[in-house]
């Protein structure tokens, strides 16, 4: 029963960490738009924290390149379990128009295990919120997977 309460609390209180991994800032502005009075994601207990050690959901925008993949991995490693990763925008999904650039590795799934992909250039705030909701469902699924392994 205690586990169920924790699980409910997890879904009710997802704290986001947003990392701009070399994005053009289009997607970043849309991420921040979710916090404004128009969308007000704090209604659902979502807080944008600037600290990986406090975060549950990792929002990444932009492409990965040789330089920032270490930063991206470092931030991911600092987040305590359970955690989910949401890739936002075309660049984070596949590298977008920068795919062919000599220093670009591609989408962030080249470096991290991505749970939810949110397409768009830039992704709409509604789509981002939808992606976060899907990520919350992942929390439950991850729990079930742990059970099947155990």
């Amino acid at each position: 029963m205690f586990k169920k309460i924790i699980q409910k609390a997890r879904i009710k209180s997802p704290w986001l960490l947003h990392f701009d991994c070399g994005s053009c800032n289009g997607c970043d502005i849309e991420v921040l738009a979710c916090l404004t009075p128009l969308y007000d994601i704090e209604r659902f207990g979502i807080i944008n924290v600037g600290n990986p050690m406090h975060a549950d959901i990792f929002l990444v925008t932009g492409t990965v390149n040789q330089r920032n993949k270490k930063v991206l991995l470092n931030l991911y490693d600092q987040m305590p379990q359970p955690k989910v990763v949401v890739a936002i925008g075309s660049c984070a999904l596949s590298g977008g128009i920068f795919r062919e650039a000599y220093n670009v590795l591609g989408g962030i799934d080249k470096v991290l295990p991505v749970d939810v992909y949110v397409p768009g250039c830039p992704a709409k705030p509604e789509a981002i919120i939808d992606g976060v909701v899907m990520a919350l469902e992942n929390f439950i699924r991850k729990k079930d997977e742990e059970k099947t392994h155990a």
Binding site: R10, D40, G45, N51, H54
Partner: protein, 283 residues
């Protein structure tokens, strides 16, 4: 004996029960002031429960030890308040808790944590003398440092100590981590250093610091209620008005630096308490 046992349990329960609801109401009010709807009242409980369910990550053992000591000291301070103990003892126990939080932040090498800890020390330096002066005022009026003596009085303290209540308001704003005194860590992105002091606390230990903070909030609001201790209605009204003013000040004030905080709080706080104390003494 049974009575004091009931009071101990009430004190231990009041922190999480009242503190969580107060912080939930605070978040709703703040959201409404910013033209948002805000989270449900129970949001702080969801946050804390979720944090307890997260993986334990500590920088070193001292950090975990300090988080436990902070909760222990702040809960003991609130229990002493419920037992109507000595005001000075309560303040010193509460100060021990505040210092353990600073030591916990100092035990990590993260620069954010270090800056936060330094700023928290400056905040403690700002509000501790004021809290002691408030208790001195209460002593001059009631003839005792015991809270029992305050409840025994026949006129509200606010009429005798109006300036000291304002001084307590300064200490309250710093302790509640409200703008413009939220230098070391704050609830919102009001500062360039949002979670300075708490940067390296994560998961269950962050939850412990949050619960410790609830105990402190309830203790300080309890100190406010002493200023109208002659009736239950008066106590509730004075606490509600004070807290609403705190939320308003939090949302209308800009961020400030520590020099301004120390200079302003000490000059205004010491001047106001001197005026009040001299008036009490000369009367």
């Amino acid at each position: 004996m049974i009575n004091s046992l009931v009071m101990v349990i009430a004190g231990l329960a009041a922190g999480p029960a009242l503190g969580g609801v107060i912080s939930g109401l605070d978040r709703i009010l703040t959201a409404r002031l910013q033209a948002r709807i805000g989270p449900p009242v129970w949001q702080p409980y969801f946050d804390v429960l979720k944090l307890f369910g997260k993986e334990k990550m500590v920088v070193n053992v001292w950090q975990a030890f300090c988080a436990y000591c902070y909760v222990a000291a702040s809960s003991i301070a609130l229990v002493l308040f419920f037992l109507q103990s000595d005001l000075l003892l309560i303040l010193f126990v509460q100060a021990v808790g505040a210092l353990f939080l600073v030591i916990g932040a100092f035990s990590s090498t993260s620069p954010f944590s270090q800056i936060g800890a330094h700023r928290e020390l400056l905040q403690i330096l700002s509000y501790e003398p004021l809290l002691v002066l408030v208790t001195v005022g209460i002593y001059l009026e009631t003839g005792s440092f015991k809270i029992q003596a305050v409840y025994g009085g026949d006129a509200p303290l606010l009429l005798k100590l109006p300036f000291l209540f304002v001084v307590l308001g300064y200490a309250l704003t710093i302790k509640l981590r409200k703008s413009p005194f939220d230098l070391s860590t704050c609830h919102h992105a009001h500062q360039e250093l949002v979670k300075g002091l708490l940067t390296d606390f994560s998961g269950p230990f962050l939850a412990l610091t949050e619960i410790g903070h609830w105990y402190e909030v309830v203790l300080l609001l309890g100190l406010c209620s002493l200023f109208w201790a002659t009736s239950w209605g008066g106590m509730i009204i004075i606490v509600v008005i004070t807290y609403l003013l705190e939320v308003l000040i939090d949302n209308v004030s800009a961020r400030m630096n520590w020099r301004w905080m120390l200079g302003y709080v000490w000059s205004m706080g010491l001047a106001l308490s001197m005026v009040n104390l001299v008036w009490l003494y000369a009367r």
